[in-house]
Symmetry: C2
Subunit: 319 residues, 2 copies
């Protein structure tokens, strides 16, 4: 299961087997979208399978997640959404009202994000060969001209910005499963980040160096990938991290780090220092030369610790 | 299960629930790809989930099918492939060598079809929540200028052409499951139809009115959709249908009609009469005014029968 959790095992699976064989021509670091040139227009394309359980949870559902997850991958690539397609794997016996509710949630989310769903596919497998439904969405977007988002644009001295509180989605899903004797007044943060990304780019333009949405594996995994891709040191200040009390409390009880918990409606940006104070979001740290290719968190007591990618799989099937 | 078989129940599911809610802006008949305008360039986009069982069968495998199925949807839309993305749902415990074999099959098929796989996603679900692996591929292609493929371009007098023998894929899968006491020297027809489509378009150009690949639900279902979309009568001549003896024999034993059996490496085209003799493939019939919105097969004995879409699900999970 760890191979699907978005952390180290996922990276080993993708870097070790899938990417070398399947993506031999892709030499750039893998971002949230791939880029394709179409008669001189840059097109971002991104695909994600959604297998979240339970299907419905406070703040969202699999259908809504499937649309916004893909919208967000397009958004943080610096592209504006053009169109989306959706493919369903349905378990035989799935009640029609369950399917209809998710299709409605998808339509609603697409409408709110301003993306047209233009096609799809439906397959049905035997009872016991899926868990109610899986949805894969693929989106394409038109790259804004003039942006050069990516690890190569990141420089020491740049600031690290996060759009809002971290860990809400993962902890919400964990609690929604009802396997823990824990309750909290918490909702998934799932939403389209497109308006916030638009705001950031209109304020800072090419001063935005890099964006990603820290879903599976959380902020720590996404920033470790950035550290590896740049060779730079990612410095976070623990007390600057926006974490709700409910998330912090659940993490303490469960021995988890909010930096490893999945988000669905947040994004990380590396922003040139001169713009960092004026873009939307919260500054959580700075890029430095050292330590090479690592994420370092400074704690409130003056100490510091290296935070690795997610290892193992404390939270499977959170998206 | 019938809802996923590609026939009437699938159309009810898609026309009844999914399309009206999810695709309210799509007023054109649903083809194998959707069309999106990107700064004046026409982009075809298509997605398919692959859930075939067994994963490997004579002539192909799920990975190869996942690439060629999407390449073919792009090809019959009159587009040249630009790029593909792939998303995997893996069952925990799947041997790495099984995954690696399918990834290699995908890479090989993509290389042969001349399409780059540019990105992907991997999710792992618990043992018993999938059947080894499901793959969703999404492809984009660049529409050739000057073509107006679609039901609206079809006219009475046009000829119906099929690229090669029908039913090979579906019967191969059925036999590969080993549930029937039947054997035949048969292979799936899975392949990229891109070279054949290229040849047809270079010979007939805008004389090609419409193309589709008759996968789930077979030739009968695809032509019934054309009949419904045009309101015209689709006349087939039974003795002109290219069907291998092995397929005909298996169908007779099982009470199936080769017209309802899935194909993976064939396509149907409606071609202006003046080009029908010179394009690659076999003429199997003609478009007429009557009977309205139906498919009629003339038998060798001078009789005729209406052939409906696939009803029920004799062959689940064939792609």
């Amino acid at each position: 299961m760890a191979h699907g959790a978005g952390g180290k095992a996922t990276r080993r699976l993708i870097d070790g087997i899938i990417a070398p064989l399947l993506l031999p021509h892709v030499t750039e670091a893998l971002g949230d979208s791939a880029l394709v040139d179409v008669n001189g227009s840059g097109i971002a394309i991104t695909t994600d399978a959604f297998v979240v359980t339970p299907l419905r949870f406070p703040g969202g559902s699999i259908g809504e997640l499937a649309v916004n997850g893909t919208v967000n991958d397009i958004a943080v690539s610096g592209a504006t959404p053009l169109a989306m397609v959706a493919s369903f794997v349905l378990e035989a016996g799935l009640p029609m009202r369950v399917l209809e509710a998710e299709v409605r949630a998808m339509a609603q989310a697409a409408s709110e994000a301003g993306i047209a769903i233009v096609g799809g596919d439906t397959k049905v497998v035997e009872h016991g060969k899926a868990d109610q439904m899986y949805i894969t969405t693929t989106g394409i977007g038109l790259l804004r001209p003039g942006l050069t988002l990516g690890p190569r644009s990141v420089r020491p001295g740049d600031k690290i910005v996060v759009s809002g509180p971290i860990g809400d989605h993962g902890i919400t899903i964990l609690l929604a499963r009802g396997e823990l004797d824990l309750e909290a007044d918490l909702r998934s943060d799932t939403r389209s980040v497109l308006p916030l990304v638009d705001a950031m780019l209109s304020v800072a333009g090419a001063g935005v160096r890099w964006m990603r949405d820290p879903t599976r594996g959380g902020v720590a995994t996404t920033l470790n990938e950035l550290a590896l891709d740049t060779g730079l040191g990612i410095h976070l200040v623990e007390e600057w991290l926006p974490v709700r009390d409910e998330v912090r409390g659940a993490c303490e009880l469960l021995g988890l780090d909010p930096l490893h918990i999945a988000n669905e409606g947040q994004f990380l940006a590396i922003v040139a220092a001169e713009y960092a104070e004026v873009v939307p979001g919260t500054i959580i740290g700075e890029v430095k030369d050292e330590p090479a290719a690592a994420v370092l968190v400074t704690t409130g007591y003056g100490g510091s610790r290296i935070v690795d990618m997610l290892v193992g799989d404390p939270l499977p099937r959170i998206c």
